[in-house]
């Protein structure tokens, strides 16, 4: 496949890895922000091939994993209302709330449907004027343009039976939260390429400056990731906390300004709770007052739903890069993808799920788990 197979070329990837080995003189801890990158690293076994001096810790960039428990509970409450068609990206169906998941709601008669695009949900609302159609709008900056387009489209079509349950999160405040933590071990970041395709990387320049840390915009294929690591290692070895772009075929500094404009038209910043981490100031988006009629929380009066996460859940530590999935005692024993105990085991992009699927046979990890 054009633009994919070239970036999986074994010779080029292994060549980049040997360049990294040539440059590196001391141990460095890097965090890949995005769950898609974690998935690619583990699926392709890149961490087995990289020099031992590189430690990769897995960041909080899996939208499924960080959606807070109470939002899931709100989704379950709305999806259980007779007459509602509740639509969602596929992997949200498996995320456990306080009681049950969307699969359970569907098995009990709720009309829960997987859509491939939020605009499919708008179409469903057009086709079913006597039903309420709700879209579960989760995600980072990546899915925001499509999600806000559904609102703009519904507004344009004057639909009064469409709403979205919003749980949008933003990367830069999460990076700042990690860097401000007393326990922080991260010395360099691989920023998420698709987030930057939308937002550009101008937001990262002041962060790199303030915390004196290199940040490299990085893609998702093995060659993209190894090139991102190489660029970050070069910054670290040279003592230069630069923002670099190793995903040139997609990302510019300014990003997609049309997409940013529609996001700003519909969303405004808000504080947002992250599952397993807690509330991060200004880290989310919510609907602006002019679009509040599309807010499913208000329409179905579920704003007061509260859920307390156990303070014991290790997924928060995993999402902050402080623990590896296989350092949890429940990993692969009590906690498996078909019976997830925490959100990081749920989505394919979750760090625990990636370890479970691609790793659980290795002897090293068995030892770590003790």
């Amino acid at each position: 496949m054009k633009y994919l197979s070239e970036y999986r070329d074994a010779e080029l990837v292994l060549g980049t890895i040997s360049q990294i080995a040539d440059r590196i003189t001391q141990p460095w801890t890097l965090m890949e922000i995005c769950g898609g990158q974690t998935h690619s690293i583990i699926k392709n076994g890149l961490d087995q091939l990289l020099p031992e001096k590189i430690e990769l810790v897995h960041g909080p960039g899996c939208p499924v994993c960080v959606t807070p428990l109470e939002l899931i509970d709100k989704a379950l409450a709305i999806a259980s209302i007779p007459g509602v068609i509740f639509t969602s990206y596929g992997d949200m169906l498996r995320v456990p709330g306080s009681q049950g998941d969307l699969f359970s709601v569907r098995a009990s008669g709720g009309d829960v449907r997987v859509v491939y695009s939020p605009l499919d949900a708008v179409r469903l609302a057009q086709e079913n004027p006597d039903r309420e159609v709700v879209f579960f709008a989760i995600g980072f900056e990546t899915t925001a343009p499509a999600n806000v387009m559904s609102v703009i489209q519904a507004d344009h079509l004057k639909l009064d039976n469409f709403s979205i349950l919003v749980s949008h999160v933003r990367v830069p405040p999460a990076i700042e939260a990690i860097l401000s933590s007393q326990d922080n071990r991260v010395q360099g970041f691989l920023a998420a390429g698709h987030v930057c395709a939308v937002m550009g990387y101008w937001e990262y320049l002041p962060i790199a400056q303030k915390y004196q840390i290199p940040i490299t915009v990085t893609g998702f294929e093995p060659l993209d990731i190894t090139r991102g690591i190489l660029a970050t290692v070069e910054s670290l070895e040279a003592g230069q906390p630069a923002v670099k772009n190793a995903y040139l075929r997609t990302v510019t500094e300014a990003g997609n300004q049309k997409a940013q404009a529609v996001i700003n038209q519909v969303f405004e910043n808000c504080d947002r709770k992250w599952r397993g981490i807690g509330t991060i100031p200004e880290s989310g988006w919510r609907l602006k007052p002019g679009f509040i009629k599309f807010d499913a929380e208000k329409r179905f009066q579920v704003e007061s739903v509260q859920a307390e996460e156990s303070p014991l859940c290790i997924s928060g530590l995993v999402l902050q890069g402080l623990k590896k999935p296989d350092q949890c005692q429940a990993f692969a024993t009590l906690c498996t993808p078909e019976n997830p105990l925490g959100a990081t085991m749920v989505s394919d992009e979750g760090a625990c799920a990636a370890y479970y699927r691609y790793r659980m046979h290795t002897g090293a990890e068995q030892g770590d788990r003790k």
């Binding site: 359970s104 698709h194 105990l341």
Partner: protein, 354 residues
């Protein structure tokens, strides 16, 4: 996970979600949830040796030297017609193939139909005609049947269950527990064609391909393979749950490790492209006209040559081999030379968010 929780020290996550109180769609996806359902609900009640062997068909002794193979399969595909096939062809080929996968020669099928009130007669006639065409190709007869009609809304148009009978030489011992270290893993052609073709026929993907389902009767291919070698140890058609789930099951049944190579998997560009867009792995996508064969290394070339002479085996390839370790696990050597686990499909196959 029944009852005995290990004594855990330190933090654990608090949110179990086991789906043991109700059936969810994941229980039918051909992966681990279905295996658990069979093990926990069906096996304890129906317990007997042919069932517990865990093969696609149950095998019992008929007379001295001759065994009877029996298999049954319910078909509930949506849409009823898709590029390359339809529910009727699927209902015949599915059961014929399950019989063939123990090395038996399928002879007779029964068919029972659950019809939804309001189904157009023309649709039923097309499906039945298609069943007979598939039966002709497989060389079997559909010798009995049953018809039930349920009220509008209580079924999705048309469901078909078929049961097949076949005979096999009792000297053959082909089954999931017969894989041996050193065996080569063969696949009869490209993987994932059926699953992606059906998904596309539902019209939900927003893109189109030229893909056709691979649904086909494989009994003649199997007989040609068995004529070429008596050292075919395992045969399995990787239907729901795909190649990954089928090979995992074999690894577990035989207590061996299986290593496949990413570079040697035959996958059509349309399938890998669709999978990239949807976040699927072709190893988990259903096939309806492909088989996996685990063959003694010495006979691999003979079997491969025989397969490639059959129209349904033209793109047959060696994709991996069996080792003693790690028992019960399927591993994949990536194109980069690293190795990772390939697990069974857990529940329902879900498209990823991004």
């Amino acid at each position: 996970m029944s009852g005995t929780f290990p004594d855990l020290q330190g933090p654990i996550c608090p949110l179990p979600q086991k789906h043991t109180s109700r059936i969810v769609l994941g229980h039918g996806s051909g992966g681990k949830m279905m295996a658990d359902l069979i093990r926990d609900v069906f096996y304890p009640q129906f317990e007997n040796a042919p069932l517990l062997a865990g093969n696609d068909a149950g095998v019992v002794e008929l007379t001295n030297g001759l065994n009877l193979a029996v298999s049954t399969d319910a078909h509930v595909v949506s849409p009823l017609f898709f590029p390359g096939g339809d529910i009727g062809k699927l209902a015949v080929c599915g059961t014929v193939n399950d019989i063939a996968m123990v090395g038996a020669i399928p002879l007779y099928l029964s068919a029972s139909f659950i019809l939804e009130e309001g189904l157009e007669m023309e649709i039923l006639e097309r499906v039945v005609k298609s069943m007979q065409l598939a039966a002709d190709e497989a060389g079997i007869d559909i010798i009995c049947g049953d018809t039930k009609v349920v009220a509008h809304g209580e079924a999705d148009g048309l469901y078909i269950s078929t049961t097949g009978l076949g005979l096999l030489d009792s000297r053959f011992n082909i089954g999931g527990d017969q894989a041996k270290p050193g065996d080569q893993v063969l696949i009869s052609g490209t993987i994932g064609d059926h699953g992606i073709a059906v998904l596309e026929a539902r019209g939900e993907l927003g893109f189109q391909t030229q893909l056709k389902s691979d649904v086909a009767p494989l009994n003649h291919l199997v007989q040609e393979m068995l004529s070429a070698s008596r050292q075919v140890h395992v045969l399995r058609d990787p239907t729901r749950g795909g190649v990954a789930s089928a090979l995992n099951e074999i690894a577990r049944q035989s207590g061996v490790g299986i290593l496949i190579k990413e570079n040697s998997l035959p996958i059509k560009p349309e399938v890998s492209g669709a999978c990239e867009m949807l976040g699927f792995d072709p190893l988990y996508i259903a096939n309806e006209g492909k088989l996996l064969a685990l063959v003694d290394q010495a006979d691999t070339d003979r079997v491969l040559t025989a397969m490639r002479k059959n129209p349904y085996g033209q793109r047959a390839a060696v994709i991996g081999q069996v080792a003693a370790d790690p028992p019960g696990r399927l591993l994949l050597e990536t194109a980069l030379g690293s190795t990772r686990v390939v697990d069974v499909l857990t529940g329902e196959l879900l498209p990823r968010i991004c």
